[in-house]
Amino acid sequence: MGTGKTSLVLRFVKGQFFHHQEATIGAAFFTQILSVSEATVKFDIWDTAGQERYHSLAPMYYRGAAAAIVVYDISTMDTFARAKKWVQELQKQGEEDAVMTLNFQFILRNPKLVMALVGNKSDLDSKREVQVEEGEEFAQENGMLFMETSAKTAENVNELFYEIAKKLATASPPNPSGVTLNHEETQERRGKLFCCIG
């Protein structure tokens, strides 16, 4: 709740920041294209609602996702605890998805969900409840990217998505046959991004 998921995405997609961002209901959808040296990645981003009871809707958004960002607020310990639970669920789901959709080429190429753990509101350092090391350690244990960001000051926001794009691009290199249609389709799939709560 209020960890700044929408703000993070809006900063990346539109370069905007609002102090009072409207509460997200269900989920909001955004797209953004990012070029890294390996490829051009088109992100289809699902930014989901934060309140606990909305979790029952989450599978609809993360089904088939190639990457997930789990966000917590560094100034609220509670959000970090919730982020950890999310990571567990997503890992489990990632395995199940891979099993269920083995016949799809893109899943075969990229069987593992790319996950990032993000401590947002790094501008609130004076109110910090979650230490950088705690986030780092948990991310490392779970094979996740880790970054502290501030949607407010834009610190590390583009870097975060850039790192994810790089990881996606290297996790499944473009089809060498170079069939454009396929290639585009692969990119589209790869870019589906699930941005969730902490």
């Binding site: 709740m1 269900g26 909305y54 979790h55």
Partner: protein, 398 residues
């Protein structure tokens, strides 16, 4: 009821004060995006055509007001509030003693409401026809005041979430986003969270309650409208802990879409596009976050008289209106853009409601109820499985 002016009347005052925006030649030529305030004080962005449509809507609202006054003159004051007239929509069996004139009045009323209740009459008509007045009459007069006093200063997970959401509910609105607006919305939401602890507070209700506050003249009436909505009008458990009612509605909607708009349903399925991705918000916010305010309220006019089936009518209509565009879309992002552009620019409520009632076909509350019963076991099974899986994760954790 038009007596004491309160801050809550601001929306109406604004409406009267707002100059009718006439597009200049420059804007017409450049087709620029302009910002303007709509009937209820919301700032919206649109092009010149949108401004023109909105002005036409204002005129239609005035005309519709004249129709209601004329009927009042011929049928007597408050004719539409007679119990025989207002209860017909609930499917109550007609008593033989009921006069034909009452039946005729009920038919007239149904048609009239589908064409829109004039904003000044909305508080009175909604309050009576929705059953809110009846609900209120079953408790002591002081219920709302006692409730708000009793819960003052209490802190619960619900109140914390409400406090967090107050400035995030229609930020920038000239009344809702003021200390008074926040305080009123807070009392309604907090009060309700104590009335029904199963619901407590669910995000989404903030938008619904905010619009109710703008329409109803008093905070207390907004509270009762929220109560009747959650307890009688909408499907059960729409907002409770795992939103099971909302899951049921989504499944019912998917079924209806395949029946009423088979081409769209098949096309979206081929794209692996789950329509719930866009419709969940509609059903939880009752379109308050997606459609322009007057269009939303026109849907609510019918909602409070004919019941929750109107939500399905409206949702199906949005897809139906864009059938050709949707069939040409080949990416998930395109589908979402089409739908969002459509809803955000539906400034003419009749454009939506004409399709909703004339092109979707007949649906009764009964058929919807049957559909819900059919879907419930599957939803419960799915939610249980998920819960079990999450619990097993937590066990592993220990």
């Amino acid at each position: 009821m038009h007596g004491a002016q309160s801050k809550r009347d601001l929306a109406m005052e604004l409406q009267a004060q707002l100059p009718i925006l006439r597009p200049s030649i420059h804007t017409r030529r450049a087709n620029l995006t302009v910002k303007f305030q709509d009937l209820y004080g919301f700032t919206v962005e649109g092009n010149v055509d949108d401004v023109n449509v909105l002005n036409e809507v204002r005129e239609k609202v005035r005309q519709q007001g004249r129709v209601w006054w004329a009927l009042e003159a011929s049928k007597g004051a408050n004719w539409y509030l007679q119990p025989q007239v207002s209860s017909l929509s609930e499917g109550i069996v007609l008593k033989s003693s009921l006069k034909i004139s009452a039946l005729a009045n009920a038919m007239t009323l149904k048609k009239l409401i589908r064409k829109g209740i004039p904003p000044v009459l909305r508080p009175k008509v909604w309050f009576s026809l929705s059953g809110a007045a009846k609900k209120k009459s079953t408790v002591p007069e002081s219920y709302y005041n006692d409730l708000t006093k009793a819960v003052e200063g209490k802190v619960t997970p619900a109140t914390r979430q409400i406090d967090h959401d107050l400035p995030r509910t229609f930020p920038g609105h000239p009344w809702l986003d003021t200390p008074q607006g926040h305080a009123a919305l807070r009392r309604v939401l907090v009060g309700y969270s104590f009335r029904d602890s199963d619901v407590g507070y669910c995000q989404g209700l903030n938008y619904v309650a905010a619009l109710l506050l703008l329409v109803m003249k008093t905070e207390e009436d907004a509270f009762w409208m929220l109560a009747v909505l959650l307890e009688n009008v909408l499907v059960n458990d729409c907002y409770t802990n795992n939103l099971s009612g909302c899951h049921v509605e989504q499944r019912v909607f998917k079924d209806l879409l395949s029946k009423k708009c088979p081409r769209i349903a098949a096309h979206l399925e081929a794209l692996e596009f789950d329509v719930s991705l866009v419709t969940t918000e509609w059903f939880l916010c009752l379109f308050a976050k997606s459609l322009p305010s007057e269009t939303t309220l026109r849907v609510w006019d019918v909602l409070f008289y004919e019941g929750a089936k109107v939500l399905f009518h409206a949702a199906l209509a949005i897809f139906k209106m864009k059938e050709e565009d949707l069939l040409l879309a080949h990416q998930v992002g395109d589908v979402i853009n089409i739908i969002q552009r459509t809803t955000h620019h539906l400034f003419d409520p009749d454009e939506l409601l004409t399709v909703a009632f004339n092109k979707i076909g007949f649906m009764t509350t009964n058929t919807i109820s049957k559909q819900r019963k059919k879907q419930e076991p599957e939803v419960m099974k799915e939610l249980d499985e998920r819960l079990r899986r999450l619990n097993s994760l937590r066990e592993d954790d220990r």
